[in-house]
């Protein structure tokens, strides 16, 4: 009766990370938490498929993302992006660089494909190696690498544009000269 070795006891240690990953995928806190709940029930019932000693977080994230792709992706498209709107409303003052960047970033991040977003968040924020991310997403390491690279490139491109807009807007405000410069381009 080695009750302490029940891998299910470890699940609780990954709840925060599961919520963070779910939120990265759905960009909606209510959906994210529903998704975590579904994934927990599933994980509990199929704990036999977990091999003790292997990466439990990766195993849980696999269940989580499968839950997302089979049930929640559609819902994500249907619900209004309440969190995003709130975040935008909260950070509307363009007087704080960090905040402004974050709003722009969130907007750009949401434009990425789901597969790119998850690869990027696993590797760029979740501390997953390419190999762990590949295992979690059920694809080859090369696929993860190219998704991450493309996602980064797209973010740079999108944020470059918004950066230019910001600079333009700042110029207009500071100089109060609304010229016809735009027409030149």
């Amino acid at each position: 009766m080695a009750e302490h070795s029940d891998p299910r006891d470890e699940v609780v240690e990954h709840l925060s990370a599961m919520r963070a990953f779910a939120m990265s995928l759905t960009r909606n806190s209510a959906l994210a938490d529903d998704m975590v709940q579904d994934a927990l029930v599933k994980a509990w019932s199929k704990i036999d498929s977990y091999q003790p000693g292997t990466n439990m977080r990766a195993w849980l994230f696999t269940i989580l993302r499968n839950t997302y792709y089979s049930h929640h992706r559609k819902a994500r498209r249907e619900v209004a992006d309440v969190d995003g709107e709130m975040a935008a409303a909260l950070s509307q003052k363009p007087d704080h660089d960090g905040r402004l960047q974050m709003r722009d970033f969130n907007h750009a991040f949401e434009q990425l494909k789901d597969e790119q977003r998850e690869a990027l968040i696993l590797v760029g924020a979740g501390g997953f190696s390419y190999e762990e991310a590949a295992q979690t997403c059920g694809v080859a390491i090369g696929t993860i690498k190219s998704r991450v690279n493309r996602a980064r490139k797209q973010l740079v491109e999108m944020l470059q544009m918004s950066d230019d807009e910001v600079l333009e807007a700042t110029d207009v405000v500071t100089t109060t000269i609304v010229s016809d410069n735009k027409n030149v381009a």
């Binding site: 299910r8 699940v11 609780v12 709840l15 925060s16 990370a17 919520r19 963070a20 990953f21 939120m23 990265s24 994210a32 938490d33 975590v36 709940q37 927990l40 029930v41 509990w44 960047q101 974050m102 970033f105 969130n106 991040f109 990027l120 968040i121 760029g124 924020a125 979740g126 980064r152 973010l155 740079v156 944020l159 470059q160 950066d163």
Partner: protein, 57 residues
């Protein structure tokens, strides 16, 4: 500012924001509903296992 310089600043900002998106949630307290759920799952299992197997041997 040169384009390269701007890009590397942008790349740094992207990495920082990525971490922030994730860590903002990861650092929150986990709502009770999840711990409650885990407790319920455990309880329902124990009631199912009214006849434990004694096949140690």
């Amino acid at each position: 500012m040169t384009q390269d310089r701007r890009n590397s600043n942008l790349e740094e900002a992207i990495e920082a924001n990525l971490k922030r998106v994730y860590e903002d949630v990861a650092n929150q307290d986990v709502p009770d509903r999840f711990k409650d759920l885990l407790n319920k799952l455990r309880e329902s299992e124990q009631t199912e296992k009214t006849e434990p197997e004694n096949n140690d041997g």
